[in-house]
Amino acid sequence: MTGEIVGFWAVAVVLVAASLGVVLTPNLFHGVLWLALALVATVVVFLLLDAPFLFGVQLLLYAGGVVTIVVFAIMLTERLVGESIRQASRYVVNGAVLAAAVLVGIVGFLVATPGPGGRPAWTVDLTVALGEALVGPWAVVLQLLGALLVVALLGALYLARTDS
């Protein structure tokens, strides 16, 4: 138990710090790196929550895929504009106040809820169960997701390519 607590706090600190880095750093490129860190931290959270399969998915898709795409995008736009993209923030105080208010609002609901007693034991292997579910009852939904990804790709391609 104590290991988990220590792990949680460590990951929590890293995650929050990395998240803050994402939104505060003036350099966009650094921001992406901070995001990668945050995603990795999240992955660790998944581990703490006994979800190793998601650990993998997240690591590959997010930390790998997403970050790569973003970096590409940044480089593409930088190449076009011919200078490194730096970004500033607007209305930081307003944003902070509003974000904090939303946080308070959410936490307000949270504290009103009694938490569950503890973690129930897993009776199945999550990875296997997920696999079975995805090819079983959730196959249709998975198809749908496939359609979504294809269409998103098609749309992204249509937009990103230059028509002669």
């Binding site: 809820t113 009852p137 749908l144 359609a147 979504l148 998103a152 098609l154 749309g155 249509y158 028509d163």
Partner: protein
Amino acid sequence: MSGLGPFALELGLGALLVAVFVAGLLARGDDRRPIAWLATLGVLALLAVALLLEPAGPALGGRFVQDGLALFVKRLFLTATFIGLLAGISLPERAFARRAAEYHVLVLASLLGMLVLASARDLIVLFVAFELMSIPLYVLAGFRKSEGEAVEASLKFFLVGSVSSAVMAYGLSFVYGAVGSTDLGAVARALDGDHPLLQLGLLLALVGFLFKVAAFPFHMWVPDTYEAGPTPFVAWLSVAPKAAGFVALFRVYFEGTGAHAAAWVPIAAALATVTMLTGNLMAIPQQNAKRLLAYSGIAQIGYMLVGVAAASASGTAMVLFYLVAYVFGNMGAFLVVEALARAEGSEAISAFRGLAQRSPLLALAMLLFLLSLGGIPFVAGFWAKLYVFWAAAEQGLYWLVLLGAILTVVALFYYLVVARKMYIEPPDRPGRVPLSPTLALSVLLCALGVVLLGLYPKPVVMAALRVAAPLF
């Protein structure tokens, strides 16, 4: 294959999607309009099928239902899509001719999302369908990608949409967490206890729906997107996804909740109030016809929210009827704007000057649409407004009805401004407004819908009442 019965429409649409996609891969040359015809006629065929279909039992372990409600709105989606696609066939720009496949794949994919959304009884299905519906729309809004306005609109739409779906997903996560199941039936049952997390989740999830239907203050993407998007697409965008948003809202918030639905009355009433108010007020100073219609559309959503605020079977039914009326009235109005824009090269309201003397029938059609949107007797919109007010009055929300009815007057102000341009002011130039046959046909369909529903709303009202009744 009896197990696939409930999915007939989705499967058909999937096949059509694949066909269009493949046709796009095979097509060569600059004019690929046959693909557009393929998609349009395919949708028409699906509509015919949909009209013949009977409600079927649940599938996927209850995660997917093809009940009366689903069928009702699917017919509506298909009708709207057919009209929208029909009107879009004759879009003059090269992009639409050459990229017909992309355009139609995106539209059909979004339509697929709507169809599934209408049947979703599971949080995950709901979310996936919701995103499937939304993501193509971002691209479509910027389909004229060489135009600064279009891509700007696309970006705004995307950013606001993504944030909203993030909030929605966040909310759905709480819903799931509070219930321990993604099944909406379980969600409804869980309402029996006092559960702040569930409340939180439902509230945050509401943001996504409200974004989709464009209620204040989640509406802000609407005017910009409408103004810059291709008009036939905007016409469709202004109705179909909104209808989908409403039906999903009913599924989540009303279906099976019984007396708990009443909890949403104050919130829906407040939203209805601000949405009607701001939509109508902001429409007044508009000079661009599409922007005007965008704000008026927001106001229309406000009226539908009045029906939602009734939180009753009749309220739900009346919103459904409202949606039907809205599809014809709003699409029709947009399509007339499109016709004028093609002829005059302007989407400003001033382009309507003297239309009654140039093209009396087109002007009459526009007048009918405006009157329908304004809620004037003998066109569809009147019954729509009346019925939602009725439903609200049944629940004792007289103040809301009064407010709504008074704001109708404000709405009529800007509708009449357009009517004035058409009927009272002299034309700037002589001659009929040229109209391509497909566009004319789609306008005609809308006009017919508005008039027939206005004269004889009974079948649709009865159907709406019938399909809404099991929700409560």
